[in-house]
Each structure stands twice: as structure tokens, then as C-alpha cells.
Symmetry: C2
Subunit: 548 residues, 2 copies
Amino acid sequence: MPLGQFLFEYLYRCGVRHSFGVPGDFVLPTFAWLEKSKIQSVTMTHEPGAGFAADAYSRINGIGLVCVTYCVGGLNVLNAIAGAYAEKSPVVVVSGAPGRKDREKDPLLHHKVKTFETQRRVYDEVTVATTVLLDEQRAASEIVRCVEACVRHKRPVYIEVPHDMVDREIPTTIVATGVAEESDPHTFKAALDETLALIRAARKPVILAGVELARYRTAGLVVRMAERMNIPIAADLLSKSAIPENHRLYIGVYGGAMSSDEYVRKYVESADLVLMLGTFITDMSMGFYTAKLDRRRTVLATTERVSVQYHRYESILFRDFLFALASAKIPPKPFKHPNPHAVPIPLRKSERRDRLMIADVFRIVSLHLDERCCVVADVGDAIFGAVGIRSARQAQFIAPAYYMSMGFAVPASIGVAMAAKKLRPYVLVGDGAFQMTGVEISTIVRLGLNPIILILNNDGYGTMRKISNGSFNVITRWNYGKICELVGGGKTATVSTKGELDNALSRARNAREVHVIEIKIPRNNVSVQLARIGREVAKIRGWKKGSV
Amino acid sequence: MPLGQFLFEYLYRCGVRHSFGVPGDFVLPTFAWLEKSKIQSVTMTHEPGAGFAADAYSRINGIGLVCVTYCVGGLNVLNAIAGAYAEKSPVVVVSGAPGRKDREKDPLLHHKVKTFETQRRVYDEVTVATTVLLDEQRAASEIVRCVEACVRHKRPVYIEVPHDMVDREIPTTIVATGVAEESDPHTFKAALDETLALIRAARKPVILAGVELARYRTAGLVVRMAERMNIPIAADLLSKSAIPENHRLYIGVYGGAMSSDEYVRKYVESADLVLMLGTFITDMSMGFYTAKLDRRRTVLATTERVSVQYHRYESILFRDFLFALASAKIPPKPFKHPNPHAVPIPLRKSERRDRLMIADVFRIVSLHLDERCCVVADVGDAIFGAVGIRSARQAQFIAPAYYMSMGFAVPASIGVAMAAKKLRPYVLVGDGAFQMTGVEISTIVRLGLNPIILILNNDGYGTMRKISNGSFNVITRWNYGKICELVGGGKTATVSTKGELDNALSRARNAREVHVIEIKIPRNNVSVQLARIGREVAKIRGWKKGSV
């Protein structure tokens, strides 16, 4: 079978249905195979957008693909792939490259930087596996090795395809597959027994559901466990929506000063046992170190290890551990949710003409969300404020909540829409981030997608202005609505009162095309979360000068 | 002196007057020092644009600066810096980073990928020197070491500034400087004697002036030598305009099938001695291997070595060698330029209503150029066709003529304008490349710059369509003129006849603001150069399937 055919047939078999990329001469023969395959290829306007789209797609679909040319494409998508590594998103990067024959005399070929190894070496720093397909005999097993690593680790891998290799016939009969891993039974039992004893003894336990539950599709096990034991569940910034937010045991997003509300914050910090399941402990999810979680009362189980209080167990499979917890017989705890199925306060007629503050935006958006929506938040107050979004229905949430790369949301909404046609993206993006990658609305229009794009316009880099002000935080004032005229599609609105936003959202919901809503926010108005973080971090003096 | 103060004072002393970047939390304290310095900081909309602007600035100014935050900024500007490496442009990359204290326990800090070393290791692949300023004692000498390497090699360097280091006092008295290099006198004499003997014996020598003449400011020596010996000079795609194009000995751009015209191609290929001075021999500058240059009749002198026919000399300083050549006494050759000061054919009244073909665009632009203009060409037919641009006056030319990264030109025009206020950029950019980075017109408007941006709209990835067609070459049809309304400034025009383009250029020349001229080109019309390359490469069958 030709290499190109095998590559895309195998990726299709692994679940890839769409590819995001930009063509270029070294990758054209690979694109020709992609076009012949059952995978739909989406040409984006710029590689950074292709990376973000593939990342978001992978989070929802379980695996995704970005296809680019050598260096001018591959290095241009690197930042997005680094973000996918940091936040555990399984993206396969396929890059075209100079031919095997081209490499013989080490000439200066266009797109080359130092050596023909440059791009692969760069990708070694942001992936869990890389390969350059220079050998027909090993090509198929190398592809399988990389894609298996991608799926196992939920992190990006890099496959470099020299343009003179992709049409070659390769043997595909003998294909190595990784051995199935197993938990060490004694270690497993010790960790489980200790954890169960702690749960049994706890009067006020809480589950902090982490992002790995979403990536490894294991949230269901945790919900089952929580229901059997009647333990409330909180999420963190990165795992928001991994547990259905309308579940009767769900209490909100915990993150120290960045928590969604005071109830969840107090509950988690006063719990006598915090079960962190699949959690990344990052400065962001811990509210810039304002979180108060004592190791003495925590169990942290991830795909890498199980840590109980001050000691750790290795060689335990995450899924096995969760399955055992979900099956354990422990009497239900006395927890009673004071306000299950929390609904944001409906908009009163008397306030419709009030000027919009940023907190209102999140509240009004919450009122419009249902299970067919996916909120996609960009960096800055779009993400800090989105912590507080709470819908009566089960809406999805995606954001670069740890790596925090600006410009994520608009292109990511394309990945979301392609991965799940029934989900409508609600994009929350600051004006600065929109200027970075907002022209991907061009791709949205061509594909006939219909996200609702909410530009939070506070006239510049608002979050940075709060930390350190200077002329460097000034950006050009755009007429954001004109983006639709530029790219030839979509509807726009500009709103500055609560009623206008509510009306614009209603119109957008009932329409079939992309809507761009510019929301004018007072220049110095910030979300409750950002304001609280600012205050509390200022108190922890000298902790981190020059950062939030 | 505080580290931040030293850093920017030293860069200022080395010639940096402007910085291009995007702020972010880890780099904010560094931006605060930048703001206090004499260097003007320019916030771009997106890091790729900042990289291209700094690259173009460095080519004209001799050194440039890009200032970004950790990973989400640094990795996002990587492709542009890789291009600067490939084409020898001296850019200093200053990146903010997590603090020295933050690194102690290796926590998950936002913007981190694998380890705190990730970004530096990535930059090792695209720079000639890197440093992380974690030690007050060595900070100043590390800065000096990197900047000296940048200036010596005319290639990028990377300086990582942890946010908790930039305000610290550092010792600046003892600062190491690199030792001055010298040529080895015996090797030097042997190489020079052999070269001079070849020149003396040649009846029809030609100089192929390379890009290093521009980078090392040594074009004047070569012109002096050419004048004394009456030897004609050709440039290549990357060095175009290094030698004033209205010089009486200048004969055009040589590049095999991609030469500016048949005269220069035939002259170079029939010469009995080709003096390649400061030349990069790349697939692009050699017209995809259609160039016919026999090593038996070449001397290649660069900053790395002197190669005479089939042997090479090391340890020779490029400048010394050029100086000796320029001072040598050799009787003038009998060359007579058949058409010095070549002027493109003026536009006749009878043809003003003719539909524009792409070749006409380059001819009409040529008629408008003078010594206050700098043509900035993007990738695709913008660059292939621009080979043929020839003005009666001395216009500058800048393009990513080897690395070939799409999206270079619009942001690069900002670097050009900041580096030389008297130069007006004429940007030639395809529709695909414009969609990548064209929104940097936002920055152009805010800075009050006035480039003339010519969008060559042939409805998609035209160059790639010629190689391998498929749905992946389709891009969205934009109303390009609307970009001015989006970003709030500039004038637009759409043209499709020769007269309309001529009029639009005249209006733009007389105006003080940015002009965006959309040029509608028939979908399958390509430049003479691209057509010729296509034909000749097709003849060299099997040479490089799937590439141009």
C-alpha cells in the first residue's frame, strides 16, 4: 500500500475524521493522499489557527490531525501544539518535508533552517513521540507507534513525511502494537485500601474532578462513585464541564480566589478529604496559589501516579483505580446540596437598559446556554469570568485554561463545530485575542459554520493593564463588526446594555450563520474572579512580582 | 545597574532603536524597562507579525529586536526567527520567562510545556547563541556574548529574562568582548593570488553579488572592484538590490530559469569566470536547479570560506578578501552594457484599458519606483514576478527569498518603515499570504505609516495550484478593501486594468496614508518567471516530484 494511503487510512481507523492545515509545496503530495482519503481536509487562513482548531477538535473527538508543510508551516503551528502538550490534547502533526533524495548532499533547500533535523528536534520538545519516515520498511510501524503514543498519553506526536516517500509502496502486514499495561496488584491494593479507608472515615469529603477525566473518558466512573457515596463534585478551570454542570452533586469550579463562587470555595477548603481525580495542579487552576489545599487531607490520582497525603504509589493504572473506587461499598455521606441545578438570575425588565458590566455578560450568556452549546473561552477576562458561567442545562466548555495562549478561541470554535455538529460554539474572546486570530471567521464562513462570537471589547490588553500599565498595552481600535464584510459572510451587532446583549443572543440563536457580537465593556471593569485574584495576590506580598 | 536597564541601554548602543512584540505577564517587568529606555516599543497584533517586522528591520538597520512573553509568545514567533536564521538577519529575541524562584520546585506554571528549559532548547535550533539570565554575576557578559554573536554572524540570538531577575542590580564593569578575528596570512595570500590570476586570465568574467554583501555592508567594495576592472554584476533573488539596480554595470537578477531576463541568464552562463561574492547557493536562488554554473569556472567567497573551482580555503576573513580584490590592479575588461539604466516600457495610452496580467503589474510598479521606495515581496508569484522588477532609480528590495515563509510582507513593511523613515514600502502580497498576516495593517494605521499594499488576487493558492491542484488550495473570497474599515484607517482601491493600477499607484504615491490596492489577476495567469520555471523543471523529469 502507498505510504500516504496507509497513513490516512490508519488515522481514519483511529477516529480522525477531519484535518486542519495549510498546504505548501513539500506537503502537496501528502495533501493529495489526504484528499483521496475519507478524512475531510480544512484549509485554515494561517497555521496558528490550524493548530488551535485541531487541539479543540482533539479534545472533543479524542484524536485530531493537523497537516502542514515543512518549517514555514510546522514551526508556525508549534505554539498551538505546545499548548496541546501542556493541556493533554491528542493531536497528530503531519508535516511535509524535503525528500530523502534531497537530503543526500545537505544542500540549502528552501524552508530549511540549520539542518534537515531542525524541525524534528524542535518537535521533540513539545510531543511524546516523533518520527521521520525515511525508511519504507519501518514507515507503517513508526506511524502506529506515534499514533498509539498520542492516544495513550493524550499528547501531540509528530510525523514527518518526506515528499518523495509518500507515494512509495510500504509493507503494512507486520505492524507493532504497544503491549497493554497493567497495574502492579500489590501496590494497587495498598493504594486502594488506604484511599478507601480515608473516604470511609471522612465526614465531609469532596471530589475535585480533573481534566484527565475528560481526556480519558472516565468522568462517568467518577459520577457513579459520587452518586453511590453521595459526595459532592467540584471541577477546576481546565476540567470545567467534564462533569455535567447540571448534575445534582456538582457544586462549581474550585480554584482558590478564582473559584466560581464562595460556596464551592468554602466547601472544598473546609472538606476533611479532597479526592483529586485526574487533576493537574497548576498555578492557574489553583488560582495563582490562593488555593488552600493541605496535602494531609488529599488523595491525588492521575495517569502518572496515586499520591495519598505525603507519599505516592507508582505503577497503578488510572482507569483501574477509578473503576475500583466506583465499585467500592461505602455508605453514603450526609451531604445535601443547598442549591442543585443552580440557575443564573433571569434578566429583569427593569435592568435591560443598564450599561453592561463584564459580570453581566457571563450571567446573560449563561441564561442562553443549553446542552447544544459549547462555550469556548480565550485568555484574559474571557476565561477568568467564564469560571462563573453556570447553566441550568449541560453546556460544554473548552479553554486554554493552563497554557493560556491568546488567540485560541475563534479557531478552536472551528474544531469544536467540526467534531460535534450538534454543538454550537459560544466564543468568548477579548479584543486583543480577537486581533490575533479572529480572521479565521474567514474559514468559518467558507465552511458554513455558525458559532456565536462575543468580543469582550475593553479597549486593549485589559488583564495586563491591571498588572503593569504602559503604552505596550495599547492596541488599535477596530470596527469589529466589519470583519463580516471583509470575509464576506456573517451577521454583526454591537451592544452595550444588558437588553441589547440578550436580544443579540436571541437573534443569533435563531439564525443559521455566524454572528459576531461586539460587547462594549467599560475600560477598567473586570470580572469578579479577576478582581478577587488581584486583591488576594496583592496580599501575598512579594510572591510573584510582575505576574498576576 | 538593574539588569533591564543594562539590557536595553546596551542594545541601544549596538544600534537598536525599535522593538517589535506583544506583551504578556512574564515579560511585563521587561517591557517596563523597555518603555523607560530610548528604544521605541511597537506592539503588533500577533507574534508572527512581530517576528517578520523585526527581521525586515534588522536587514535594513543592521540589528533588530523582538520582545515577547514565554512560550505562548516565544514559540509563536519561532517561524519568523527561523527565517531570519536561514536568510542571515540579525534579530535579538528577548523573551520574558518564569522567575528563578518559580523554577525551584518545578511546578506546573502557566505557559510551561515540558520543562523550564523547553523554550531555550527550541531556540538552540534556530539561533547562533542562547542564554537564560539566571545569574546576576554573569548576566551582563551573557548579554554581550549573545549580541556580539548576533552582529558577527548576522543571525538571531535568544535572551531569556526571568521576571524576577530583570529588576536586580547586576555588575556591569567587567564585560567580556570577543577577540577580533584575523585571516591566516599564508592561506589568504594563496587564495587571493589564485583568484586574481583567474580574473586576470578571464575574458568574460561576471560578479554574482550575494546577500552577505548587504548583511556585512560590503557592497561598496564590490562595486569599486567591478568599476576598476569593468566587470558586470548580477544579483540573485535573495540579494536583489544589494547592488544599486541603476548602476551602469548591473545586469539583473540571475537564477537559471528564474532570471530577470534572457540577457543576464545568457551572460552569466556563458561567462568564463563567475565571482560569487557573499552568495548563498540555494534551490531558490538557483532557480530550482535550472541554473548552469560550472564549478570549474567559479570562485565562491563567503564569510565561511573561499572556494576556488574544486578546492576551498578556510580562515579567511570575508571583508579582508573583498578589500584585497577591490584594491588589486587588473586592467579593465572589454565589457560594454547593451542597455544600462534599463527602464521598463512606459505605459501607452492605448493599453490603459487592457485587462491586467501579472507581468503588467511588475512593469507598472517598476515605473513608479524611485530611491525612496522599498519593494517588499511575499511568497508565491509576488516574489517570482518581482525578480523582473527593474527601476530606472535605485529602489530597495526585501523578500524571504530563501526561507519562503508566507505572510512575511505586510508585517515586514512595518519593520522597513521604522528602520528607514524615508523609505516607502511597496508591498507585493498574494491573497493567500494576505489572509495570514494582512491584519497587521492595524499596526500600520496606529503608527501612521503609509506603505502601499498591492494584493495580487488570483483567487487562492495560485502557485500551489500549478503544482498539485485540490480543494486544499481554495481560500475564502474576501472583500480585501474592507480591511481599512475594519482597522479604522487607510484608503482602498480595486483595479483590473493597466490604467486603473497606474492611477491607483499615482494616487497612493501622493497620499500620506496606507493604501490597499486589490489587483484582480486572471485565475491561471502567472509571471514569466514562474511559467519558465514550470516548463524547465517539468523537463528535468523525476527531479522533484510534488515540488515546484
